[in-house]
Structure formats: C-alpha cells, structure tokens
C-alpha cells in the first residue's frame, strides 16, 4: 500500500496561541478520498484531529477545506491525485477557526437569513403553482447551492471585507428573485443595492470556478447588478 504525507493545520483555542502544522503518514488505496485520509488519522493515529464531515457524497456541504491552497470538498477528491504529497490541508480561507479544520460558519448563516431565502407572496388557494420547465430553468441552477462555503473561501472581496454578502447568499437571493412563484423581489432589492450587496463584487469569478455543484454565483451577482442599476434609474424617473 502506498503512503502519503498529510500536513494538517492544527489549532486548539484552549492551548495554542497560533495555528501550527502537524504531519501524518497515511497509507492509502486508490479509492480513498481525502476525507477518508482524515478519518484514518482520527481513528488510528490521532483522535484529536478535528474536522466536519457527514454524507461522504458531496451533497451535505460539511467537509470543505483548502487542499494545497484550493477550496475543495474532502469527500470527492482523492489521495491518489496528491501522491506523493505532502498534501496540505487547511481550514477554508477567510473564516475564523473554531478548531483545526472546523471554521465558524455563523457569518454565512446571518447573510443567508438577510436575503430572505424563501418564497414571498400568497400561494394559490388550491393545488400547486403552475410552473413550466422553462420557468423553472430560470432559477434551477441557483437552487443547487449546498452551502459548503467554498465560494467564500475563493472570494478575494470577502477576504478583504467580510461585510460583503458574498457569492452563495447572493446566488440564493437570485434563486428566489428568479422564481416565477415569488413576489419578494422588492423586499430583497435593499440587500442587492447596498454597497456590500452586489456592488461589492469585482467579478473575479473564482467563486463559480470552485463551486462543486456547478452553480454560477458570479452570473447571479452580475444579473443583479443589472437589476440594481435598473432599480436605481426607475426610482430616479419616478421622482
């Protein structure tokens, strides 16, 4: 069996003044994911290594980390592709570390809540809304966001200014705005228009590149810049 070196960033707020690196030698087979490498360490070498994981199949969004500096999900990337290593595993960029690879996700949750990510307006009195496949296609890709936060770790703007609403939350804002069943666009415009809304984005586009689900947050942000500009001029005209 081949062996690969994993260098993991460690940080225990109770003991460490600053983060440090720790090396582990991990025997692996070709079908082992990076997550399985971390699990091997935890089970057999060092039970104190701390990381989040759950579904193992790239849908729960728990196991994002910087793998050799690139934000990725640990479960769907494989040790064989980093052989002979070392593979550096760090917590996602731009977030405070709670412990080791586990980051503080609360800022994202607050931002998600701020975009009102739910349908606004009265539902039909009977049965479901009608929505054609074409209407669904308007928002469908944006509904695929798994909230893994890789896009925030990729976003240089968020790194500079954590007030920026950021890619995933703006993509989800657009997911509801673009839904034919929704009547909440006006209410969400306030978030879109503010300086830290869509206008915080400088269109680097790295968010869309790292998304493991093919969501294109950069496109969502850009479409909302157009909306925001229209909104501005319409308000100007109405005066």
């Amino acid at each position: 069996m081949r062996t690969i070196v994993l260098e993991c960033l460690r940080y225990d707020p109770e003991r460490d003044e600053a983060p440090r690196w720790q090396r582990y030698e991990v025997p692996f087979t070709d079908d082992m994911s990076v997550l399985q490498g971390l699990q091997y360490i935890k089970d057999h070498l060092d039970g104190s290594l701390t990381f989040r994981w759950s579904c193992r199949m790239a849908i729960c969004g728990s196991c994002g980390a910087m793998l050799n500096g690139v934000p990725k999900l640990g479960c769907e990337n494989f040790l064989r592709d980093y052989y002979p290593g070392p593979l550096r595993v760090e917590p996602l960029n731009h977030f405070p570390i709670v412990r080791d690879l586990a980051i503080d996700q609360s800022d994202f949750l607050a931002k998600l809540e701020s975009v009102k990510p739910y349908l606004i307006g009265e539902p039909p009195a009977e049965g479901t809304h009608k929505q054609t496949p074409r209407e669904m296609a308007e928002y469908y890709q944006y509904s695929q966001c798994i909230n893994c936060l890789l896009c925030y770790a990729a976003c240089p703007q968020y790194g500079l200014n954590d007030k920026f609403t950021g890619p995933a939350a703006l993509a989800l804002l657009h997911r509801y705005n673009a839904d034919s069943r929704d009547k909440g666009r006006e209410e969400r415009m306030a978030v879109v228009n503010q300086e830290d809304g869509v206008w915080g984005c400088t269109l680097v586009g790295y968010c869309s590149e790292v998304c493991p689900k093919g969501v294109d947050p950069a496109r969502a942000v850009n479409q909302n810049k157009i909306e925001s500009a229209k909104d501005y001029f319409l308000r100007f005209l109405r005066r």
Binding site: D31, S48, P123
Partner: protein, 587 residues
C-alpha cells in the same frame, strides 16, 4: 451550568425536525421553540435522499391503492389505521412543500410530474431530479428562517433527556464549539434524530446517523419497536455504500448479473416481459431485491470488484438526455466514486444498509409512552413501514408526521405545567458525560465501533440464523462491558471535541444494536426484511403477526415483548410481485 427555558424542544433539524418546528410555530405563534441539532440543519441526512416522495396525485390512483401497496409492501406488519391516516395526508404536505418553494419536477404544462417506484402500483412519486431530499431539506430550512420563535441551537449535541416522574423536563445539550453543557428546560420534546444505520459497516447513511434519539428514548423507558427490520437498499456502490437511487429503476434501469442475465426473474419477480411493468422485476420492493442479490452471490453469479461482489445496474438505454435530466446526482457520484460514465457503462452495485424501519414506539399522534416525549421520522416507529418500507414513503413520512409531532407537542406544551427545576438531574447526567473525557485507560473508540459493525454485518444481515444472532448478541454484551470499562480518548479538550461526541454516540449505538439483535432473535419467522434460514423460513401469522417491543433493562440485555398489529381492512395474504401485472407507461 447554563440553562434556558423553552416551551418545547425539537431534537434534530432534518426534514422531520424542521417540519415539526414550523408546525409548532404555526400552531401557536407565542410558543418558544428550541431547535437543537448536532450539525447545521442543511447537513442533516435528509439531504442525501434521492428518489422522491409518494402521494396519490394522478387520476388513475387512489388512497386505497397507496394503502394496499404500503400494507402489502410491509408484509402486513403495518398498523393499518395509521397507514390510512398517513396516505390521506401525503398530498397536502407535498403541496405545502411546493408552496414553500420546493422545485419539484414539472410536466410541460407546469403541473407536477411523478415517477414510478418499487412496490408502488401507480406513478405517485414526486421528485426533484434525484436530489429530492436535498431540495426538501433546503426548502424547509430556508422557510424556517421566517419564524423568529424558532430559536436554533446549531451544533449542539443532545446528550441526554431529563425525565422526572415519568415526564419530560428538558434536554441536556453540549455546545460543540465550547464543549460547555446547556440545560434546555421544556415540558415537551420532539425527537427527530433519524435512523441508526451506522451500527453497520457498509451503508448509505451519513456519519451522523448513529441512533442518538433512539438511544435517548430507550434509556428513559420508551420501548424501541420492530428494530429487527433493517432495510438493505439493493443498489449501492460497493465499498462506500453510496446510494444509487431506486429512481434509476423507476425510470427504467435494469439489473443484470455477471452473465448479463436479468436474474430477478428467478426470484418471484418475473416474467421479464411485458416491460416495464409495475411491481415486477426491477420495480419490485427492496427487501426482495436485496435478498435476490444474496442468492445470486451464493450461486457465484455476481461480479467480483476490488470492493466486493456486485451486479450491474444498467441505465444506458435511457439515453443521455433522460439520465442528465432525471438522474444527475447519481451519475456524478458514479463518475467520482467509481469512475463509471452512466451513459456509457453499467454501474456495479450491491446491497447496503439504508433505513431503520423500527424506532421509538409512538401512536398516530407521535406520542411515546413517556409524557411530553414525541418522536417523528426515521427515529420513530409510528407504524407505516411494517416489515419493509416502500421507497418514497419516508420522504413524505417526515413531513406528514413531523407536522403531527410539532402540533401534538405544541398542544401539550400549552397545557402542561412545569414543577420545580430539572437542574439537579441535568448536573448529575453532565458529570457522567464529562467523566468520559478523563479515562486514563481503555480502548480506542474506533476499535469498539468497528467490532460492533462487523458483529452486526455478520449476525444481523440480510439472512439470519439463531447461531449467528446469538453470537452477535454475545459480542454486543462484551462490547458494552468493554465500553463501560472505558474508552481512552486522545482528545481531552472541551472545544469541538468530536472524539468525545463519538464516544457518546457509540454508547447509543451499542444499545440500539443490542435492541436490533435481540428483536431479530425473538422473531422466529421470516417476514419482509427479516429473513431466517434456520427452520423459520416462512411467515408465521399465527405467532408473529405482531410488533416487537424492546425494553431497556439497565446494563443487561433488553427485554423483548410482542404487541398486536392493528388490522382494519386488509387481511394478511401471500405477498405477490411479478406475474402478469399492468404495463407501466413512463412519462
């Protein structure tokens, strides 16, 4: 110890927990609801459900048909009054999810599309591609943000229930980030913690699916019902157990052995033609399909892969367009984890543990025998799955009974009174959990956990014998004893100590596993997913048309009782699949 008060606590923020919290908030907006989850809500295992949710929708369907499919699918171990209640509430609940934004697949005219599923006689499964659970969960979570009275305790691990004089007083939680204990006092608690598939090795379940709620209820006097009925999903990736949804077959995929032969025709599911046909061949129920695999393996007709024996799930004839539209998630997963392009190659698959059909015994109002304690979703046994759950009944179960549990608990919370403080009990319990951190000797957590999983695979598998079950029961006694002697943790920190939480979870799992093994040993017949090889190969309605109840007996083995099944209008008869059934016209 920090403590807070709430009117009711919901433990678990997957589909059932979120639906319960929303239902309680809508029942009475003045209630304060604490939603406690060991992971962020959108990480809950509902997220991984793929195929869809059942409801009578089309003109050619009826509540009676859904009832009959469910009851016969469950090999007559369902409580029929509960099934009747359930099938009537499926459609309104799926419409409710649509009103909240769930992107269900649509027909060209904008109405809801449905797909076929195993054991269902009509197309009645609503779906959102093959990410149905993901969309249901995110829809519920995002909608829950509208309700300020739902106070979330994200990444709080529920370590214990506080029960005094037979009534719930609250929960003892650990704030994972800091490792500090928190007492949440409340008169009503809804458990919605999901299944216990992780007591086995090869399974489709997320790492979080460790039977916590079952263990909590069991320790406080609520019996676990029908725990011998574990569902093996027939089509999972060998090794990882990653699920290849039943919707593959619902859309027309076939299963072949190493000779390219559709072997299901040899196991009472044929003939092959006319194909596709409802409740036949690949559209048979999961218990029968997993059992057929077991026999094929015995006959040496499976395919050897580095990760173990497999058969081929073949989607190729569906065409790239349909595969990409209807089955994108499993196609990505097959590519990533198996290197298989589903458009061009068949997928190697095998059975893996998937769903815990038993659970905390509740009545139709989701009440457990402990006053103020409710349960819903996979952690509960409300009585709709019997000896074998039909695919797509559980994704609708979580919203139908999540809602019932939330409303029942809300009504109870409004009328019940708190007497005195729960703090002394909570303090004593917290002391026990904190002591786990300080063991200076003992075994590694992974050693005990892996031995438990191997023992369950060996003795409580798809086919069971007295000898194998006894060996597993003995092994579990030994593992519980070793666990009591001590698990030695590498990690002594309080903040985000997942090794410590893993030890608490293992404590739950060992007890839940023991309930499963003893329930299986006591059922001396074969029914649904519980198959015996030692002289009990047939169903025995005379002696075992009964639920199994496992009661905890301290450090000893559980006490097993049986309880009558409620039969209202469907008398047990032979369970037939295959035959000359109705041809299925797929949309």
């Amino acid at each position: 110890m920090q403590s807070v008060k709430a009117d009711l606590v919901v433990v678990g923020a997957g589909g059932a927990g979120l639906r319960a919290a929303i239902a309680a908030a809508e029942r009475d907006p003045r209630l304060s609801i604490a939603l406690v989850s060991k992971v962020l809500p959108m990480r809950s295992h509902t997220v991984a459900a793929e195929g869809g949710a059942a409801a009578v929708t089309r003109g050619d369907d009826s509540l009676e048909a859904h009832f009959n499919d469910t009851v016969s699918g469950g090999d007559w171990l369902c409580d029929q009054d509960v099934v009747e209640f359930f099938v009537a509430r499926c459609y309104p609940e799926l419409v409710q999810l649509e009103h909240w934004g769930c992107p269900w697949n649509r027909k060209d005219d904008g109405s809801i599309n449905t797909r076929f599923f195993g054991g269902m006689s009509v197309q009645r499964t609503w779906f959102a591609a093959d990410r149905s659970g993901f969309h249901i969960l995110h829809t519920l979570f995002q909608t829950s943000l509208k309700y300020p009275q739902i106070r979330r305790y994200d990444e709080y691990f529920c370590a214990d229930l506080i029960v005094e004089d037979g009534a719930v007083r609250g929960v003892l939680a650990i704030d994972i980030a800091s490792g500090e204990f928190l007492l949440i006092e409340a008169v009503a608690v809804v458990l919605a913690t999901g299944g216990a598939g992780r007591v086995y090795r090869q399974n489709t379940n997320a790492g979080t699916v460790t039977g916590d709620g079952m263990g909590l209820a069991f320790r406080h006097g609520a019996p676990l019902r029908d725990m011998e009925f574990m569902q093996w999903h027939p089509t999972c990736l060998p090794g990882t157990g990653i699920l290849m949804t039943e919707a593959c077959r619902g859309e027309g995929a076939i299963l072949v052995n190493k000779d390219g032969y559709r072997y299901l025709q040899d196991y009472g599911l044929g003939p092959v033609d006319p194909w596709p046909r409802v409740k036949a061949m690949e559209l048979g129920p999961r218990d029968r399909l997993s059992q057929a695999f077991w026999h094929e393996h015995k006959k040496g007709r499976t395919i050897e892969t580095p990760q173990g024996p497999a058969v081929h799930l073949d989607l190729r004839h569906l065409g790239a367009r349909k595969i990409h539209e209807r089955l994108p998630l499993i196609s990505e997963a097959a590519k990533t984890f198996m290197g298989v392009d589903t458009v061009k190659e068949p997928i190697p698959v095998c059975p893996a543990v998937h769903y815990t059909m038993g659970g905390i015994y509740t009545n139709v109002r989701c009440e457990t025998p402990v006053a103020g304690l409710y349960a819903a979703g996979e952690c509960a046994s409300v009585g709709i799955h019997g000896a074998n759950r039909l695919g797509s009944n559980s994704l609708v179960e979580i919203v139908v009974f999540g809602r019932v549990a939330g409303e029942s608990a809300a009504d109870y919370a409004r009328s019940a009174r708190i007497a005195g403080s729960a703090e002394a009990s909570a303090r004593a319990s917290a002391g026990n959990f904190a002591a786990l951190l300080n063991n200076d000797q003992g075994e590694r957590l992974a050693t005990l956990r892996d031995e438990m999983r191997d023992a369950m695979e060996a003795g409580v598998g798809i086919y069971r014998t007295t000898e194998g079950l006894r060996a597993t029961c003995q092994k579990l006694v030994q593992l519980r004893e070793r666990f009591r002697r001590g698990v030695k943790l590498d990690d002594r920190a309080r903040a985000f100590n997942t090794e410590w939480l893993g030890a608490i979870e293992l404590g739950f799992m060992l007890e839940v596993a023991e309930a499963m093994a003893h329930s299986a040993l006591a059922r001396r017949e074969s029914r649904g997913a519980h198959m015996r090889l030692d002289g009990f190969e047939a169903r025995d309605d005379e002696n075992f048309l009964k639920h199994t109840l496992a009661h905890r007996a301290g450090d000893g083995v559980p006490r097993i009782e049986h309880q009558p099944v409620t039969i209202t209008k469907s008398r047990p008869r032979a369970r037939h699949y295959g035959g000359a059934g109705k041809q299925a016209v797929m949309t």
